[in-house]
């Protein structure tokens, strides 16, 4: 899923300073799963905003709404109406959701309440880790199901580098060496033959390096 993390409260408060009528808009998709922007987080942030304003002795009128997803236009249709006379929408969705909301609710500014950080998995409740860089050319078949682009700090295709120490990346002992993981997996699968082949240079043109991407599936229109 897409993993996001709430922005520092100070930053959110600062951006909202010019406004008195705010709609906090949550999303039941990824941000609910990683507890960053679902209905519960909408409620907590809304209340925190009220507290902070009250502390200044200034008014704020905070409305709350959580929609199915902010990345599909159909779910955003009711938002403009439900926003009523709000002056700003504080979206707790990922960057994609914030943008589509902004596109669809033209009359209002839409501000992000979270930082969209990565595509990843829950290793356990409350611990999320990056797994995919959306390079557009999945290499997992050659590396035992572990991604060298996302899990190696240097996105090396023929790793590990000389900094791999005791299974950890040189940048931090909290980061496993992606290539150690790949080698362990290939050994377990009896596929070290894959390791001996020199992997070719990545084609980064399918990633964001090649420009913003778009897929059109005509049969779905």
């Amino acid at each position: 899923m897409i993993i996001a993390e709430q922005k520092a409260f100070e930053e959110i408060e600062k951006r909202l300073a010019p406004f008195t009528r705010v709609l906090v808009l949550g999303c039941k998709g990824c941000v609910t799963v990683c507890s960053a922007g679902g209905a519960k987080e909408v409620g907590i942030l809304a209340t925190a905003l009220k507290l902070a304003r009250a502390e200044h002795g200034l008014p704020i009128d905070v409305r709350e709404l959580t929609v199915e997803r902010q990345c599909d236009p159909e779910y955003l249709e009711p938002v403009a109406v439900k926003a009523g006379d709000a002056q700003v929408i504080l979206s707790m969705a990922c960057g994609a959701g914030v943008q589509l909301t902004a596109e669809r609710v033209l009359k209002l500014p839409v501000l992000p309440a979270v930082n969209t950080v990565f595509i990843g998995v829950a290793e356990k409740a409350g611990t999320y880790a990056e797994r995919c860089q959306a390079c557009g050319d999945c290499k997992l078949a050659a590396t035992g199901g572990i991604c060298p682009v996302a899990r190696c700090s240097k996105s090396i295709m023929n790793g590990p580098c000389g900094g791999s120490t005791r299974g950890k990346c040189e940048i931090s002992s909290d980061v496993p060496c992606g290539w150690q993981l790949i080698i362990d997996r290939l050994e377990a699968l009896g596929r070290m033959d894959l390791y001996d082949e020199i992997m070719d240079e990545a084609d980064w043109s399918t990633s964001r390096d090649g420009g913003p991407r778009r897929i059109v599936r005509e049969e779905l229109e």
């Binding site: 240097k154 090396i156 295709m157 580098c161 070290m192 980064w204």
Partner: protein, 323 residues
């Protein structure tokens, strides 16, 4: 001869080679480069210039290599994959050769979190093994990675690094093979303090016949003090300093220079042992910010004077050794 570089000629003539390295200045001070190079002249067969090592901005390797070339030293241009994409790397290979640089060392590069610009975007378009292969192709086939032909080939000796002490130990020789398959003509290793472990690695290397396909230069770094030794032992990834070496450095008398003297002694002993190991064709002396020590090491290990080999003599199959 692939490049006609002095390093290649010395190796081809069968001598035990000596290379060293220089870190360029953190500024535009040309004299700083010349001073360091002057300390090495006559004591090494070629001199590496590092490429923004540890992600710290320094004068570019290509520029500093050009400066030492003009002084008459054979330069080894280090190139990391961290900062430049395949376009810039190929361009610098061509530019480097145009400036008279005949050796290149292909590296991944330390991650930018180590350096002075942690917020930089990291490039890593290709990795060190792909870089080796790319340069070899430019030299031997006259082609760019994209397939187009070159107008003039960069005839460079291609090197790569190897770390016998980094994990996972089990695949180190296998990864070395990949680098050699890709075309590495020479290998410079991380600095060695643990001779038995290095011997284990070399055995694997020799068993795979890799020592015959590439020239392995064993890395040596003299320790300056116990403080330096313990820092390296604990805080530098991929470093292996055995307890007995640490003890020796710890037990030196408190006199000024005693630590350095012991460090030099240990380094010379290391070089002597390395000379005896099958498959080791030379040493790569990394005396960081202590280039003065190189002269002592080379002399102390009986590697002075350096051989004067004429490249064309070797090319014709006759080794006319004037050294």
């Amino acid at each position: 001869m692939k490049s006609g570089s002095n390093l290649e000629a010395v190796l081809a003539a069968g001598h035990f080679a000596v290379t060293s390295e220089c870190g360029p200045p953190r500024g535009a001070d040309v004299e700083a480069v010349k001073k360091k190079a002057e300390l090495l002249r006559g004591h090494v067969d070629a001199c590496n210039i590092t490429d923004n090592q540890t992600s710290v901005v320094r004068m570019s390797s290509i520029a500093a290599c050009s400066i030492i070339r003009e002084m008459g030293l054979d330069a080894v241009m280090q190139m990391v994959c961290r900062d430049r994409n395949r376009i810039a790397l190929q361009s610098d290979i061509l530019g480097g050769y145009a400036l008279g640089i005949k050796n290149v060392l292909c590296l991944s590069g330390d991650h930018q979190t180590f350096g002075d610009h942690k917020q930089a975007k990291n490039v890593f378009d290709i990795d060190s093994i792909q870089l080796v292969r790319m340069v070899k192709r430019m030299r031997d086939e006259g082609k760019l990675l994209g397939g187009d032909d070159l107008q003039g080939r960069p005839r460079m000796l291609v090197g790569a690094a190897a770390n016998p002490f980094a994990d996972p130990f089990a695949i180190r020789a296998r990864r070395l093979k990949k680098k050699i398959d890709a075309g590495a003509d020479f290998i410079q290793t991380q600095c060695i303090y643990n001779i038995p472990k290095f011997k284990e690695w070399m055995k694997q290397v020799v068993d795979m016949g890799l020592h015959e396909r590439t020239a392995i230069l064993a890395g040596v770094t003299p320790l300056k003090s116990y403080k330096m030794a313990s820092y390296m032992a604990t805080s530098v990834a991929g470093m292996d300093i055995p307890a007995d070496v640490l003890e020796r450095m710890k037990n030196v008398p408190k006199d000024k220079g005693a630590g350095a003297a012991e460090g030099i002694k240990i380094a010379i002993e290391t070089i002597e042992q390395l000379k005896e190991i099958q498959g080791v064709r030379g040493v790569h002396l990394m005396a960081i910010e202590w280039e003065k020590a190189v002269k002592e090491l080379v002399k102390g290990a009986g590697l002075h004077p350096r051989p004067m080999v004429e490249a064309h003599d070797v090319a014709n199959g006759e080794v006319k050794d004037n050294g």
